[in-house]
Amino acid sequence: MSGYRLSTGGRIDRSRPLAFSFDGQGYQGFAGDSLASALVASGVTLFGRSFKYHRPRGLVGMGPEEPNALVSVDRGPARITPNLRAPQVALHEGLMAKSQNRWPSLKFDVAALNDVFGALFPAGFYNKTFMWPRSAWEHLYEPVIRQLAGLGDSPVARDPDHYDATYAHCDVLVVGGGMAGIAAALDAAAQGGRVFLIDEQDELGGGALSDLAQWADLNALKDRLAAAANVTVLTRTVAFGYYHQNFIGATQYLTDHLAPAQADGPRERLWRIRAGEVVLAQGAIERPLVFHGNDVPGVMLASAGRTLALRYGVAVGQAVVVMAAHDSGWRDALALAQAGVTVAAIIDVRGVVSADLADAARIAGIAVHIGSAITAVHGRHAVKGVTFAAGGTGRGARLACDAVLMAGGWTPSVHLWSHAKGSLVWNDAWGAYLPGTAIENCRAVGACAGAWDMGTGAITAVLPNRRDVRAQKAFVDFQNDVKARDIHLAVQEGMRSIEHIKRYTTNGMATDQGKTSNLNGLQIASAALGRPVAEIGLTTFRPPYSPQTFGALMGHHKDALFQPVRKSPIDDWAREQRAVFENVSNWRRARYFPVGGEDMEAAVLRECAAVRNAVGMFDASTLGKIEVVGPDAAEFLNRMYTNPWKGLAPGRCRYGLLLREDGFIMDDGVSARMADDRFHLTTTTGGAARVLGMMEDYLQTEWADLDVWLTSTTEQWAVIAVQGPRARDVIAPLVSGIDLSAEAFPHMAVREGTIAGVPTRLFRVSFTGELGFEINVPASAGRAVWEAIHTAGHAFGIVPYGTETMHVLRAEKGFIIVGQDTDGTMTPFDMGLDWAVGKKKPDFVGKRSLARPDMSAPGRKQFIGLLTEDAQELLEEGAQVVADPDLPIPMPMIGHVTSSYRSAALGRTVALAVIADGRARIGQTIFVPMPGKVIRATVTEPMFYDAQGSRLNA
């Protein structure tokens, strides 16, 4: 039995007992306890196993610095959170926590054999050992390492919680709700601005919560805060990152402190705070001392012992020994004694301590050993005693105890200060870095600025010991099992930079990011290198300050709100018809409309046949649309597109091909001239925003003299394509104000009128090769017009078709899809689109690049058709094409299949491909090697149906 509950004291509520479990064993604590305090009160010393050697470990600190007591909290199979620090887990009724990194149990852990063979695992072991042979990585090293690696287990089911996120703005943001932070917040509040005060604990007060003498003051300050209307106080909130221009990321924990049944609403909230001024009051973290046996469970920071006693009413042991290098250890010992904890001795490595402290200890009846050091700790799963010696060198004396408190001095928490690139200055009195000059509008106050009376201390990390450091189990980084000797070894092996030493030893790389180990590691490296600490530098502090959940970072973007899924105005109708959808860009589009039990192949064959033989209708609303208006509209388009636009008469349409300045195809679409100074452009669905952005770029930055403006109208218009030999018959009864005859309204023309009583821009265009119309109506009327056409088409056998059928029909005609048949390296010539390039135009975007010799060099991939010798063999899109399949692997690949479908019209499969010198290969046989077979295909013109175009001109 070591720890126990004191009969009085602390901020817990002894009238509210809470039952909880740890590793399946039931315990009891009180409201106001943390998991750590409740376990210590129950006599638990063993909290976890270390990462590398699987050594038994106990509690070290009572805050975010805790390296050992990492637990998984189980709130149900989908709500297991690993790697929580036991001192930061608030106790609630029914809490279920488990230790980590042990198998099969915490007390008996198989991998602890690593510890027995510890000499085999020195610093850099992994770097050195797993070098060769290369094949061993795959079969031996990696599987074994993966088996043993990692801390904790992830939940196996989908996270059922939701998470909130918000922005916030304030004049002053104070990080840290200790006395200094509260004072700063009250000062700022008095100036009248908006003030935020955030603190990671469930109660404001910081260190004052563990100091009875400050409780009255603390309560008074809290009352003043509560009365200040302009102060927002966020507790249980961790400021994890400090970014440019006073932008702070913080996570507020909303429900984890509650029993699952009581948890309602979002689990966490991400605060994205922009502050005029940031005041950092993060306090300081106590440093352990490095000595043989300093990782035996029961050896912890003096501040942890104090917090346990004064905040939680828990004694860390029946007989406590304090190992001090700093005055604060004496103060803590005295506070413990006053709280009723038996302090057996204070051992101080310093030769001299202040008379006040020595007198006070004597009065309190505490034995004092000045100029001495612990040279060994006895016990494996719990402290049973220590051996200490004067100067650390003699044979020493043995002292029975069940807890050892380390007081190695204090490290101001400069994490956020450093995130913000504030400079750090070495301070000899603190033996630590303090904030120097800020870059942001930021200041540090209280202990994190060095402005706190912690007393004085010796700047020492490693206690003297007659044994060689290489023979000691003296730990620097508890979680990563870095010993003082590992740092010596790193230096011995040539590491000079602290960044290299860190990575070679993994010191400071654990989930606690070196909160207790960085400074000690630095001092040991300094000694080993024989250079002052200040010359060695400091490793970089990076966000996050402590581990954060992905859920918090995702915020709103989860489940149904993961990302906006854009839907056309006709989407609801398609859903009611049980269409199968696919995502195109961030749109959801109907892919096909199965009837009965049809699969996709059957549905698409039926839809294709209907369009070729009768009529089909297709929702093309997602096409990008841009209204180009102004006196210079035609001039602008003439400069952008490859083909000429100035001569296009109002009422006519033209296929436009858009290149990037490097000459490669960027987008295409049919556009119409509505009036002299007004064009209706269309772009691909996925290219809409990109094309508008590119056009704005040229317009604003190159040709600002032109009087023309671009307006996105993608969402203004619903677009209904009616395609097939009966298309005119279907819409004729619905259209007024437009002569639909072939003479009055030829292919590639546009007219304005009404359809089903709704104003329309009616295009006569075809992406199917059939007689076709694309009916633009305001999106709000899209569904009504669609249904009117569907009803009117019934007599003609109209079928709705989806994107898959659209793809097949256009492929039969050899119409390209930018981004499917092209890949960002294709020119108009490569794609057989020479006809769309204005030969007489002096300039257009991309023209100069087309004149580069490489752009017309032999060997370029060219767009062609492929017909497999077996007419029912369907090529795979993306499959590689070779000229000679008998060459040894890797054989030269000459291109790839870009589109491949079953054609209802042809009763066979058709494919499109880009292959080197493709046009010269027309008529030749090429080969497509696939697993288990080689498919033979003939190269053809990329046109399989109605090459003369008689159907679309009908």
């Binding site: 916030a168 990302q563 899924v565 854009r566 002299d676 109208t713 999106a779």
Partner: protein, 176 residues
């Protein structure tokens, strides 16, 4: 194995709300409601005078402000948000652009002491400084919106039609 839902399923059933949602956001009361149908125009010109004369209406001077149903969004860009049934004369051949975009967007209204907090969950602007008379394009998370500050604690939000269901639910989610 953790099952990842196909992307196509995400957001599948989100539909734009048709009735107001009232409650509190972070303790402040707020009502989210669909705005009344409006007429919308995108109006562009380098010379505000030419545009003003063409449409017969005054235009707000400062970028980021609105007046009489017209907001100035940029140096050559205005946006008219007028009661249903309103008309604007359309001119041809002048150095300006008029494009009716009534169907392109829908409007949402947030009113109440929690209106700014509701919007501030996803909009990075300091909305306390977006005082009545201000109007600007901005974003709510990844979605482009316009915010018009109509009155104290009353914002009109313009959002393109296909993003509106997501935005509605993203806003409504926090109203409890």
């Amino acid at each position: 194995m953790l099952e990842i839902a196909p992307l196509a399923v995400a957001g599948i059933d989100l539909t734009l709300g048709t009735t107001p949602v009232s409650g509190t956001v972070y303790g402040h009361s707020v009502t989210l409601s669909p705005a009344a149908p409006m007429v919308r125009w995108s109006l562009r010109a380098k010379d505000a005078g030419v545009l003003s004369a063409a449409i017969g209406r005054a235009l707000p001077d400062a970028i980021g402000t609105h007046h009489d149903g017209i907001a100035r969004l940029g140096p050559d860009e205005w946006y008219a948000l007028l009661p249903e049934g309103s008309t604007l004369p359309v001119v041809a051949g002048q150095p300006l652009s008029q494009v009716e975009v009534t169907a392109r967007a829908v409007g949402l209204t947030l009113t109440g002491p929690g209106a700014a907090a509701a919007l501030g969950r996803g909009c990075p602007l300091d909305l306390a400084r977006l005082t009545p008379g201000r109007a600007t394009r901005t974003v709510f998370e990844t979605v482009e919106i316009q915010i018009w500050a109509l009155a104290p604690e009353t914002f009109h939000v313009e959002v393109w039609r296909s993003f509106a269901p997501w935005l509605w639910h993203a806003l409504a989610e926090a109203i409890v």
